[in-house]
Subunit: 347 residues, 2 copies
Amino acid sequence: MRATLLYGAGDVRVENVPDPVLKHSTDALVRITASCVCGSDVWPYGSMNPGDGPARMGHEFIGVVEDTGSEVTTVHKGDLVVAPFAISDNTCEFCRAGLHTSCSHPQAGFWDGEPDEGGQAEAIRVPLADGTLVKLPVAADSALIPSLLTLSDVLGTGYHAAVAGGVDERTRVTVIGDGAVGLLAVLSAKRLGAEQIILMGRHQARTDLGREFGATDVVSARGDEGIAQVRELTAGHGTHVVLEAVGNMPAYQQAVGILRPGGVISRVGVPQYEEAPIGFGSLFRHNLRLAGGPAPVRAYIEELMPAILDGTIEPGKVFDVTTNLDGVAAGYQDMADRTSLKVLINP
Amino acid sequence: MRATLLYGAGDVRVENVPDPVLKHSTDALVRITASCVCGSDVWPYGSMNPGDGPARMGHEFIGVVEDTGSEVTTVHKGDLVVAPFAISDNTCEFCRAGLHTSCSHPQAGFWDGEPDEGGQAEAIRVPLADGTLVKLPVAADSALIPSLLTLSDVLGTGYHAAVAGGVDERTRVTVIGDGAVGLLAVLSAKRLGAEQIILMGRHQARTDLGREFGATDVVSARGDEGIAQVRELTAGHGTHVVLEAVGNMPAYQQAVGILRPGGVISRVGVPQYEEAPIGFGSLFRHNLRLAGGPAPVRAYIEELMPAILDGTIEPGKVFDVTTNLDGVAAGYQDMADRTSLKVLINP
């Protein structure tokens, strides 16, 4: 079958690889019908050392179950399913607490930790299929597929940012980042009733979509000027919550600058730094808090799917390009250049 | 009157200074009857540059109101009162939200920011007296004075750690630090019903008091060995909450190491660092959270005082030495040497 491999920075190739096969009695084989490129794929695309490659790519997909191991009971051949970006058993104490990205099962983990599998491909072996896969009540060619595909990562990640940040109807929120996760963090804050949602981003097509998703204000300035504008919009105090959907140090510093005393920075952009200021002069003085991490999107699928099925939310609007595997390399480059917001792949 | 001044590292002097006078119509003058030395006083005692001194010291006190400005209505001449370590109006939106240490009044702030006032003295001018002072329903020579004095800082700070960490009856807690704040964090976690309370400390007299306050386990090892022992006590997973009552980098690193996925580090020890690891390899991977800051102890006084008055809790047990102003310099040294846990001053 054909699959996407990253050989190094700027070097994406689609190649023939061995077809996946069942390895464990808890596996399922899935023929992929829809996949996509993630903002987090763009980090290694920009920086990966060729010595670290090639790596199989993709961790968001919908597909049809082709075969299952003997212990799999919740999905069957022919079912259309969606998979979160993390493999989990959905039964351990962490999964039961809604923290599937810390599942304690030995086979649990991120797709990126599965060297022979990836979602930007024609098929995939899914470990812990009962825990990981969720059946979709539509056909593979449904018009809802783009929105349902966001359940695999970006919608659940934006929603996790808002949930981990404690957003409710008494909350003023700033969202940093107008990528797909940032825009769906806006949608999520709106869904949770936030009183004010300030979107910080500078690409008008994206911030326009952010307004459609619920942003009440847009600030295109960054750094000190951006901080000043957010403070101006919030009686000088900043917002109760900042949803940080970028992951670099300038975004973190901006978050600290626009947070209200006692507020919380909820991070879902994978940090591209390890050390950061958290002492008296940054977080401590005003009881600023820090939350977030890899989203346990599996925990949110059942909660969010009905709103997609009944048309209440249309998170699939974040896909502005659709291609097939032949167009994946160009899709990476377009996302790196920010000419595409998010690329949908029909293998 | 006599007051305590810090001239530089290791150089505490008690000197004659001008008597305090009312400056604003919202001030009160208080004759101090009980005060103490704080763990946070020991940091500058260990490191202050003589060029930065002399500084008036002390931010925890009980005293008798001697005079009030014309606008003061809640306390009167002759009242015995306790003051929190932060001055606040108790009416702004941050105070109403229980975050008195971020009070927006221009005269609000820490005692350490009042150059001509300090609690380790015979008298003090209290700004925003209505917001800052709380009347005590006992006499100045009551046996409850040591416990009531902890309402000014260490009890409220330990309690804030536990509240900000979200401690409840489903929580396993580790407390790092066997100083007065750490021990009262233990007492607070117990009061909030924590299922398990592991105290990390190596001074047996202190950890014995910690057990009396509610610690279920004591770990004297530090660093990797300490982390391993806490994990052993918690089925390998670590605790849901770490109350960090020290403030240095080894304590922070230890906190990260013993935290359960999804858990929270609640810091109340003033950080002696600004940058620290918070990226994928430390906090982010397992959705570890960070909370805490200067405790809004004013918010907790009414809640905690009844338990002191009826003898349910005896936080005053953290005082192991009582002295007068002549003994303050020795008290600083004893606390720095850790031969005293906390020094009470009857001026």
